[in-house]
């Protein structure tokens, strides 16, 4: 006698209305082996430490008294009760990957505006993705973790700032959306205007060229000039569009031009005993002015005249006897004979 299996009254799997997770009656807790068939309100929790799922009662039973080892055979990681949570994704691998990405994203949170060139931004994204890939697939874990740590240590402050900025932005999200829409509208307008202007300019240029050809100018030069003007206008427009591109990269600030180097650092020689004339007529230097051997090297006769006159008066107002006696007396008073008197000290003596 064959018995016909009774038709199944309840479906084997159905979707939980609250969480949307597909629940099957065959779900069995790997630890206590209890099935949903016996316990309809069975809920599975997962710990991000090892991603092993357990039923809620097992979690309560095992981990209420503090951290304990994971009961799954082969995994002995210490788990804590508060870290257990409901699985969001069907595939546990995806869950793990998303967790890793969240963790990485919390640290590597630089934005496009922080970079000056697109290339730099892309490099950064590439590096972040490399790290993520290594972490997900367990490749070079040590090295990757080290990179992680060095980055965290180096940019701790920046990370915090960016996180705060993100929080603020989320709060003002709607305002930002409106702004975006407006900017997009403006950009479209600008693009349309640009096109019209370009068309107009081309027309004008053509007319100008024709006029000039008609008035008898040289055809080649006119053509070349016209081309040059057009090219210049195009380049200007391109540069302008680049500058106001919607890519929000950091704008480059050119450093201020350095002041010319002053080799004397503020010292200036003043002729106090004589005024240098433009020209001195004297047989000793007359030929030098015209002599190629002297002028080829850039030799300036005026420099010679100036130097001679400075030498003539350099020290005229220096009264050696008095100043030396004064200096010796000072030295005696100090008790220290400093022989190496530099320029500053000389000025001190002069002032004294």
């Amino acid at each position: 006698m064959s018995r016909i299996a009774p038709p199944k009254s309840a479906p084997v799997s159905k979707r939980d209305p609250r969480t949307g997770v597909v629940q099957s009656q065959d779900d069995v807790c790997p630890v206590c082996k209890s099935a949903r068939y016996m316990n309809p309100s069975l809920r599975f929790l997962v710990n991000p430490e090892c991603y092993h799922k357990m039923c809620e009662s097992c979690v309560d039973r095992m981990f209420s008294h503090g951290p304990a080892a994971c009961p799954i055979k082969g995994c002995g990681r210490t788990l804590r009760k508060h870290r257990f949570r409901e699985q969001t994704f069907e595939d546990i691998k995806v869950e793990r990957e998303v967790d890793i990405r969240k963790k990485v994203g919390a640290t590597f949170n630089r934005r496009e505006e922080d970079f000056e060139t697109l290339l730099a931004f892309n490099d950064y994204l590439n590096d972040v993705e490399d790290i993520t890939f290594n972490l997900i697939n367990g490749i070079d874990l040590e090295e990757t973790n080290k990179k992680f740590e060095t980055y965290t240590r180096a940019h701790g402050k920046e990370i915090e700032e960016n996180a705060q900025m993100a929080v603020q932005e989320r709060q003002s999200f709607s305002a930002a959306q409106k702004l975006e829409r407006q900017q997009a509208r403006e950009r479209r307008e600008a693009a349309r205007r640009e096109e019209e202007e370009e068309k107009r300019e081309v027309e004008e240029n053509r007319r100008d060229v024709l006029n000039r050809l008609a008035s008898g100018a040289d055809a080649e030069t006119v053509a070349k000039e016209g081309q040059r003007v057009q090219l210049k206008k195009r380049m200007d427009r391109q540069a302008a569009t680049e500058r106001q591109s919607y890519r929000r990269l950091k704008t480059l600030t050119k450093p201020e031009p350095e002041a010319p180097i002053d080799p004397f650092d503020g010292l200036r020689l003043v002729d106090s005993y004589f005024t240098l004339q433009d020209d001195y007529i004297w047989e000793g230097i007359q030929e030098a002015r015209k002599d190629v051997k002297q002028t080829a090297g850039g030799y300036d006769v005026g420099d010679y005249a100036h130097r001679s006159l400075v030498a003539a008066f350099s020290g005229l107002g220096v009264f050696v006897a008095d100043e030396i006696t004064q200096r010796d007396q000072l030295a005696q008073n100090d008790g220290v004979v400093s022989e190496d008197v530099g320029l500053k000290d000389a000025k001190m003596i002069h002032a004294a």
Binding site: L269, S272, Q277, D279, S308, G315, L316, V320, L343, H350
Partner: protein
């Protein structure tokens, strides 16, 4: 942040001002101290000396300070004549004389007789003033072995405190000449703060200058009759220049002028001696009448002129006197500095025993030659020193 320096400040930065300028008292003190030190040293090596001039262990017949000074002066003159013999430009002469004078401020002829030093000093000066002559040629022309020329050089450098720049009055004198000639032609105006009538007025003033005194050293004399023209004034200026140049060449180098005065003051003093009205006219155009430095400058120039004028060629020792002094010096000089060449060689080699160093050098040379010889062998050099 701009600091304005005038020419005096520029001079104050020079090593000549900082280290080699003295008041008359400090100069005398320094010389006396040097001499006393030398005498005390002399008393130390006196008992060792074989000379019969020593009695009671005290320096009985040593050169006294005066004689030392005159001997040094004699060699200053010798340096001058040698430089002329080589036909070197005048800066070399001045530099060499100054080096010698500076050397003998901190050393005494008793320790380093000037006969052994002056050739080195001249060679050093020719190197410093960019008229370099190779050592071998110099030694040949001065008939001295090259080692003797080089041996005291480091001592000289130390005594000079490694400051080799000597500020000289010659270029300044040329500048003054240039300006005077242009003043005579009415091309030069005045300096700020000095009140003159402008270029033409200055020219007229020059034409009306009184003639130089009879005691002046210039060769120029006023024309007996007729107006003085600008050409005459220019002759006068040129004559004054050559007279001043002669003074700078001679008395300025042989006295203490470089220690007591600045080159600018020296050259104006020389010009003052040559042609007094011209110089006072020139200074009138340069120094404002109301400046407080003016009387001081004029007195300084006058003092320097006096120093230069008080020197006469007869002060210098004659050949016999020099020979006599040197013989005396021979008896009382420091014997430890007699072999300058030897001590220089030892110092160069690093001071270790000369024989050991020679041994090492010889061994190295022998090893090198052996290696070279074995290299030509049919089977190449020996390995690991075996065979």
């Amino acid at each position: 942040m701009t600091q304005h320096l005038n020419e005096d400040d520029l001079y104050r930065t020079s090593s000549q001002y900082r280290l080699w300028s003295f008041s008359p008292e400090s100069l005398a003190t320094l010389r006396r101290k040097t001499h006393e030190l030398a005498i005390t040293r002399a008393s130390q090596y006196a008992p060792k000396s074989k000379s019969s001039l020593w009695q009671d262990g005290t320096a009985v017949d040593c050169l006294n300070a005066e004689e030392c000074l005159r001997l040094v002066q004699r060699y200053l003159d010798q340096v001058r004549t040698t430089s002329d013999h080589f036909k070197w430009p005048v800066p070399v002469k001045a530099t060499a004389a100054q080096y010698l004078a500076r050397f003998y401020l901190s050393n005494s002829p008793l320790t380093y007789p000037p006969k052994e030093i002056y050739k080195t000093v001249l060679f050093l000066a020719c190197k410093t003033e960019a008229t370099h002559m190779t050592l071998s040629e110099y030694a040949r022309r001065i008939s001295t072995p090259a080692d003797e020329v080089l041996a005291p050089e480091y001592k000289v450098m130390q005594a000079l405190r490694f400051t080799l720049d000597v500020r000289q009055p010659y270029r300044g004198l040329k500048g003054v000449l240039m300006e005077l000639l242009n003043l005579a032609e009415g091309r030069v105006g005045e300096v700020e703060c000095v009140e003159t009538g402008g270029a033409k007025a200055l020219q007229a003033e020059m034409l009306a200058l009184e003639v130089p005194a009879r005691t002046a050293q210039t060769m120029w004399s006023a024309k007996a009759a007729g107006k003085i023209e600008s050409k005459d004034v220019m002759d006068r200026i040129n004559a004054a220049y050559s007279a001043a140049r002669t003074i700078l060449d001679g008395p300025a180098l042989l006295t203490d002028a470089y220690f007591l005065f600045t080159p600018s003051q020296i050259l104006l003093a020389a010009l003052h001696l040559a042609d007094e009205p011209l110089t006072s006219f020139y200074l009138r155009t340069k120094l404002p009448l109301d400046s407080d430095l003016r009387p001081k400058i004029l007195t300084t120039i006058a003092a320097c002129a006096e120093l230069l004028a008080s020197f006469s060629g007869s002060h210098i020792l004659s050949k016999d006197e020099r020979a006599a002094l040197e013989q005396k010096l021979e008896g009382c000089r420091d014997p430890s500095t007699r072999d300058l060449v030897g001590s220089h060689a030892v110092a160069k080699r690093g001071g270790d025993g000369g024989e050991e160093a020679e041994e090492k050098a010889r061994k190295k040379k022998a090893a090198r030659e052996k290696h070279l010889k074995e290299g030509d062998d049919l089977f190449g050099p020996s390995l690991n020193g075996k065979g």
